[in-house]
Amino acid sequence: MADRRIDLRLSQILPLIGFFAGLLTGCAGLKPAEVPLLPDNVPAYHELSAVPFYPQEAYQCGPATLAMALSWSGLPLKPEDLVDEVYTPSRKGSLQMAMIGATRRKGRIAYEVSGIEHLLPEIAAGHPVIILQNLGLSWYPVWHYALVIGYDLPQEYFMLHSGVTSRKLMSFGVFEKTWARSQYWGLIVLPPTRLPAQADEKSYIKAVLGLEKARQYQAAKTGYQTALERWPESFQAHMGLGNSYYALGDLKNAEHAFRKAADLYPAEGAAHNNLAQVLLEQGRKQEAMQSAQTAVSLGGPLSAAYQETLNEIRGSMAK
């Protein structure tokens, strides 16, 4: 009789045990952390000791980490200066796009960095990296921003400014797992004179374009110049430089940039079109007319805009 009762209980408990065992494997809780592919061109140990630390208020890891990163980049800001721009009270947190947007509005390059193999070279180059972690579980997320300020490859840990802890140590395994849950979302905040350690042309120019969109034309101009030092033939960077000068009211330098773009890429109508506009505004109508006609003759998906420029020049000549 006693045996039977135990049996009953066991049969009741077994599914439960099975369920929890399933949960554990389902959440990768039993899976050993994969050792990430480490790049071999970085020093074994590096720490950025000059990065300031600001402890966070409740839920406000976004403003705190961003303030640290911006201060490092040369803009002495406190977390409370950024709360309005970054923190969303209803979400009790900060969205990634808000972090990027605030960075741009401060005239800094927001460049996304994903994965440990890309993170280490940035730290080694002296760039602290903001990362988004899920400290909880995939189905019970506890989202958190922290600033990575160093690593130790032989000892296998990272150093972070995190929450209320300055220089918190985190093992590779925990770091990898908590970061993986955000799809390795990372961000570096750079002054526009600096390139990321592993700068990709398209991504960097996109990041500078973000400055232009945020109407930080001075910073955008510098960013495009930085891009052109590395990629002197980038069509987008020449165009962006011209547009930034134009927005700043510097027609002479804008003309120079568009001319360079048109010389390098004579088949790109946009360069001729913008050159025409800048020439027109300097009163050089004959030259403007020529450039606009070139643009229209090249056609392409933007040809309606080229035609508009040409019409505008014709109209001004008729006056």
């Binding site: 799809q183 120019i205 996109k206 374009l209 232009e212 969109k213 069509f235 987008q236 165009m239 962006g240 547009n243 134009y246 790109e268 946009a270 079109n273 913008n274 506009q277 392409g300 998906p301 933007l302 805009a305 080229y306 508009e308 420029t309 505008e312």
Partner: protein, 137 residues
């Protein structure tokens, strides 16, 4: 096929309106300057061709092509003969595909399906969307 055409049409009309709402290029109001962003989207032609080629080589895309009774190699060959404007148009649409994660997988599959049908129409393999090859009057 007819029934499929009808349902595809209503889906396509919805998608066209939906996508054009989201992705309408916004030109600045002042002057006729081309913004840097417009130049970013308007990638060089070889880049656009490469993008379309890579898209057609994706396994999920090939599955859709085959389900339409079209030989993937044939589709690939016809892409080579498209005009510059058509290639740019298709490349721009591929750019609009969500990278995943943001939207549900189902929606991504629907988008891929729609895009493949659109490309096949442009290629003249199928004739689902009447706005691709409107009958000459």
């Amino acid at each position: 096929m007819n029934r499929f055409r009808r349902s595809a049409k209503s889906v396509s009309i919805f998608m066209v309106i939906f996508l054009s709402f989201i992705y309408m290029p916004v030109q600045s109001v002042f002057a006729a300057m081309i913004e840097t962003e417009a130049v970013m989207a308007d990638q060089s032609l070889s880049h656009a061709r490469e993008k379309v080629r890579a898209f057609l080589q994706r396994r999920d895309v090939q599955a859709v092509i085959i389900s339409q009774g079209v030989e993937p190699l044939e589709a690939q060959a016809r892409v080579e003969s498209l005009s510059d404007a058509e290639i740019r148009e298709i490349a721009a649409r591929i750019d609009q595909l969500p990278a995943g994660g943001l939207l549900g997988t189902v929606l991504v599959i629907v988008l891929i399906f729609f895009l493949v049908l659109l490309i096949l129409d442009v290629l003249g393999v199928t004739d689902i969307f009447t706005f691709i090859h409107p009958p000459k009057k």
